[in-house]
């Protein structure tokens, strides 16, 4: 069975349209209200309450960075670009804002529902990817720490495989990531309590060479 699309909660969701008064705004508002959203229009800048909107539609033709109270690409909600002029420069700017949906002007009778679904799906996916990438970056930057920790644990003629296994056991016993365990080991360095005392439950085990 194919997995279903998650239809976001749209009833009473709030949409903010950042666009000068124009028939486009009326057509867009009509579609949004038909779907069940409440609609506000802001121009020329987003007012403070925009920060809690569920979706923001913005004019890609006359828009500029200073209209948004966050840095480009950092919006806390999905952005949908209203594109009139399909000039590469304007599309580039809309993308730099982090738009995950688009509607071509003039806005007619349809297109808003799919834009909402696609923008939400892409926004959530991007957020999840950003979180995953930040996590992976963190781990990558800790690689050096793990090398140091293994070297410390390997002091006294134990080989590195054994030392690495011990580090893993420490991480498991402490219920932390191996990167965090490595940091603890390194922060104790050659000073203070003996490394083996750092982890009473696994201190003596796993230290012997495998037969």
């Amino acid at each position: 069975m194919r997995p279903g699309i998650v239809v976001p909660v749209l009833d009473d969701a709030r949409a903010v349209i950042l666009h000068r008064p124009h028939p486009t705004v009326a057509a867009l508002s009509r579609q949004l209200r038909a779907i069940g959203l409440t609609v506000e229009t802001h121009w020329p800048d987003l007012r403070a309450e925009a920060i809690t909107a569920d979706y923001i539609f913005f004019d890609a033709d006359l828009g500029h960075d200073a209209q948004f109270p966050w840095r480009p690409g950092q919006s806390p909600m999905p952005l949908i670009a209203l594109i009139g002029s399909e000039a590469p420069g304007r599309i580039e700017w809309a993308l730099s804002q982090g738009a995950t949906g688009q509607i071509i002007k003039p806005v007619g009778d349809s297109g808003v529902f799919s834009a909402l679904l696609i923008a939400r799906q892409a926004f959530d996916a991007r957020k999840a990817q950003e979180a995953a990438i930040a996590d992976l970056r963190g781990r990558l930057s800790e690689r050096q720490t793990i090398v140091q920790a293994v070297a410390l644990l390997a002091r006294g003629n134990r080989d590195e495989t054994v030392a690495y296994n011990q580090l893993r056991q420490m991480a498991m016993a402490w219920r932390v990531t191996i990167e965090d365990a490595a940091q603890r080991v390194v922060s104790h360095g050659g000073h203070g309590p003996a490394i083996r005392d750092l982890c009473p439950t696994c201190g003596g085990k796993g230290l012997a060479r495998p037969a």
Binding site: M1, G4, V7, V9, L10, D11, D12, R30, Q31, R33, A34, I35, G36, G108, D109, S110, F113
Partner: protein, 361 residues
């Protein structure tokens, strides 16, 4: 004061795989036109401009354009499949025309060039599943014709079934007109579902019902699109079929009908479209050229229960079972608001919704 002569388009297929539905809609529209033309309280006389796409999807757009370009008609009653409706909407937008669409459909549309006078999923599929799952169980098998009606009805049904803790045992589609239903029947027999949701149309559906009766007779079959108008084609094999719709023959409560009886909900919905249009145009010279939004900005439109945000109507919901060759109503709700995007039930409305009244069982 003299009567205004107003042309209105009728775009129903009288041939092809869903001709029975087209004929039902055409009958309803013509009945209403006749009634309007002889109503002394109205100052309009309707002249039907008929085109028959003969069930050919590629004929709808040119014929609709022909009505809007070659005649003075701005309002068109008709189309049966969602596919054909979607084909002509761009033409309506360009010409400033309006379609009055008298069939149940799968929702997720609210064109401001269309008035939807039949049911959307909050008025057929949602109440049908709410009714059926507690009675029959949650293990469903879904069949449908290979276009948007079948696909989206089954997607919504899948969501409803899973939300109710049920399970979808299978999902199969056939091209419109195809009658190769063996595999579906074999799968139904193999999976023994608690019910089958049938969103097939035309001959595919008739063939499926016949084979189910012969080979899997005990499995309840549910439908949101079968009505009296297809009984002649279905015959005996339709006995026991359960269908949901806003009207079945003899039911009370159809908007503005004043006790008139209709052959089916397709006929009733097309009748209502013409009747409502006449009321909106009467005593408003030039109204036949108004934009739909302006035309509907009238207290007369409200009397018909139209939701101005979506151009859909508040309608009764009836669930009926075919017994002795007629649809017998077994549950009903009197007035269900349209919710074409099914967005209004998402925020915890489901438990508080009034349940269907069981009429008999």
């Amino acid at each position: 004061m003299g009567r205004r002569d107003i042309e209105i388009g009728l775009l129903f297929s009288r041939h092809g795989s869903y001709a029975l539905i087209g004929e039902a809609g055409r009958t309803g529209a013509l009945r209403a036109i006749e009634a309007v033309n002889s109503d002394p309280a109205l100052d309009v006389t309707f002249h039907p401009v008929e085109r028959d796409p003969r069930g050919n999807i590629d004929a709808y757009q040119p014929l609709c354009a022909d009505i809007l370009e070659a005649t003075a008609a701005r309002h068109v009653i008709g189309t049966t499949t969602s596919w054909s409706r979607k084909e002509i909407i761009p033409t309506l937008e360009r010409a400033g025309g309006t379609l009055w669409y008298p069939c149940p459909y799968e929702g997720f549309e609210a064109s401001d060039h269309v008035v939807y006078t039949h049911a959307c999923p909050s008025q057929h599929l949602v109440p049908l599943m709410d009714w059926a799952v507690p009675r029959f169980g949650g293990r469903g098998y879904l069949v449908g014709s290979n276009y948007i009606w079948g696909w989206e009805s089954n997607r919504v049904a899948r969501d409803l079934i899973l939300a109710a803790g049920g399970q979808v045992l299978g999902e199969r589609y056939l091209p419109i007109g195809d009658t190769d239903i063996e595999r579906m029947i074999d799968e139904v027999r193999a999976t023994r579902p608690d019910f089958v949701l049938n969103s097939l149309i035309g001959p595919s559906s008739y063939e499926f019902l016949a084979a189910m009766k012969a080979k899997a007779g005990s499995v309840p079959i549910l439908s949101c699109n079968l009505t009296e108008c297809e009984l002649p084609a279905m015959g005996q094999v339709a006995e026991g079929l359960i269908s949901s719709g806003p009207y079945f023959r003899g039911a009370r409560g159809w908007p503005a009908s004043d006790g008139i009886d209709f052959g089916s909900s397709f006929e009733a919905a097309a009748w209502l479209a013409v009747r409502m249009l006449a009321d909106l145009l009467a005593h408003r010279p030039g109204a036949e050229r108004m934009k739909l939004q302006d035309l509907l900005a009238s207290s007369r439109a409200e009397l018909y229960g139209i939701d101005r945000a979506t151009n859909h109507l508040t309608l009764p919901v009836l669930i009926a079972e075919i017994r002795g060759g007629r649809f017998e109503i077994i549950a009903r709700r009197d007035a269900v608001a349209p919710d074409p995007y099914l967005s209004r039930r998402q925020r915890g409305e489901a438990p508080s919704r009034p349940s269907l009244t069981v009429v008999s069982r």
